[in-house]
Symmetry: C2
Subunit: 316 residues, 2 copies
């Protein structure tokens, strides 16, 4: 049986799986992304893990290639370039680095593009020709499909919604500029929002029991489930900024749906409700109440891993 290796390189974790053509994950695993100073060491650790799994496979399995989703990934060049949420700076040719360990073809794209392909083939965007996927992880990634085709753009970098500027002179971003969307609508963004709110609010909050460096998006999610006012306001503000950016995105791309994916999207209604409300509030009249805001339908699996693996089928 044919298998593809799908790898999703995130700011914190790198998740991988061996996936068949129907999207079934035969084996999976993960390693920490940020443990090695040298990117070659990271690729080696990941390759060792994969080779261990491959060595244990029955003969009936035949691996056809490696698909990789990574932040700031370039589909045309196989590179990751100046990714603010990875510790390795500059231009890294991941496709070449993996080819030192494997003889399979290696195809790489933006992590959100990989997730978009996953949702299109196996998930919430099945049958859709025009949609946007937004991944709310350590940063904010996006992938954008029009006329049934992934939009890579001239340079292979299309879909950097996380680096559209939403506030003039806003929060400092890892990319060197100020006010980028991902500084507000992401796991790290909501932590910054809570820290700002805790400094100025008189409200009682569970989150005041923690040191600033202990606050995580998970903790904020736990607090909001207990009705914590500061956590609620933080989700409302996050949804407001995200809704604003999505309304602008709709004006440009007129999608059938926007799919939210990634850690922060798992907060469910706490993030979907304000995002939808403010998206409609900011929406141009001709698009009002027309664009669906959907959760990923790849439950219990990783859409980016599935999508990354699907890159192999699309290219073989």
């Amino acid at each position: 049986m044919d298998l593809a290796i799908g790898i999703d390189i995130g700011g914190t974790n790198t998740v991988f799986g061996l996936v068949d053509r129907e999207g079934n994950c035969i084996a999976e695993g993960s390693i920490k992304t940020d443990r090695h100073e040298d990117v070659k060491e990271f690729v080696k650790e990941l390759s060792d893990e994969l080779n261990k799994i491959i060595a244990g496979l029955d003969n009936e399995f035949d691996i056809k290639g490696i698909g990789i989703g990574a932040p700031n990934g370039n589909y045309f060049k196989g590179t990751v370039e100046f990714a603010p949420n990875l510790r390795w700076k500059g231009v890294i040719n991941f496709a070449e680095l993996f080819k030192e360990h494997f003889s399979f073809p290696v195809i790489l794209t933006n992590d959100a593009n990989a997730a978009a392909i996953g949702e299109m083939i196996y998930g919430a965007a099945k049958g859709m020709k025009d949609f946007v996927i937004v991944t709310l992880g350590t940063g904010l990634g996006s992938g954008f499909v029009a006329n049934g085709e992934m939009i890579y753009g001239h340079d292979g970098f299309a879909g950097e919604l996380g680096h559209t500027i939403v506030f003039h002179d806003g929060r400092q971003c890892g990319c060197g500029r100020k006010g980028c969307l991902e500084q507000y609508a992401s796991a790290t963004g909501i932590v910054k929002t809570v820290l700002e709110m805790l400094e100025s609010t008189e409200e009682d909050s569970i989150l005041k029991n923690y040191k600033p460096e202990e606050i995580t998006s998970k903790l904020i999610y736990e607090a909001v489930q207990q009705g914590d006012i500061v956590a609620m306001e933080a989700f409302d503000f996050t949804g407001r900024v995200l809704g604003f950016a999505l309304a602008n995105t709709v004006a440009l791309t007129s999608p059938e749906a926007i799919i939210l994916f990634g850690g922060l999207a798992l907060a469910g209604e706490y993030i979907f409700k304000p995002t939808k409300m403010y998206m409609e509030y900011y929406m141009l009249n001709i698009f009002k109440n027309k664009v669906k805001l959907l959760p990923s339908k790849i439950v219990g699996k990783n859409a980016a891993v599935l999508g990354a693996s699907a890159l192999v089928w699309k290219n073989s």
Copy 2:
């Protein structure tokens, strides 16, 4: 010889032409867009003008259809919907209205999409697969081509860059919201900027010799050519806001080039220079100094009319 009728419905003027497959304009003309309260009267006046021209044509010419570019035009439905810069409100089925006067097929799209098709076939975007066109007229329109295909979106309304919000609580827009790009980067936008500046500046300015209602973008252009400080600052501010919005557009769509078109783009370096400078200033590092900012190459002709006429060839 086959001819197509191309019509560009603008906020102020409606321009039309009879165009052959090579983009040669055999005959052309224009009427005022805003003279009739009833849209049927407008379509009748335009049809009468066209029929006069058609009646005078040699037998060798064979008209194959009508292509229309219009603000808020919907390619799928042949309608113009809630166009803030036209006096007719609500949903207008222009394709149907024209069919009452002609037996040819009628195809309609957004005015900027029509211009994009014109530039792609006959102008500055020849051979490009990924580009954006921005029309700076009464309002601001945009058309957006990816993978060599016009992006209409799910609803047929993609490309409403003029209605992306660039300032929270900014200038009131005709669409009912605040802070839309077209309230800053358009012929009417630069007039608003000058009026604001004249109210607060101590600087000497030729423009102070005029009543507020007399200020036009043409007058501002004449003033800037004479080195008028207020006019210069107005072009700088317009370029800043437009450059900001274009940098955000690049992050999403990664185009090879952005083409500026329409009345305000005719101001040449006075608008291109600040727009390019601020676009690069606001640009995400991976796109810096890569995206061309070009003027329309359809000189002395109307790209939207050519593009609208080309809709006929694409559909016949």
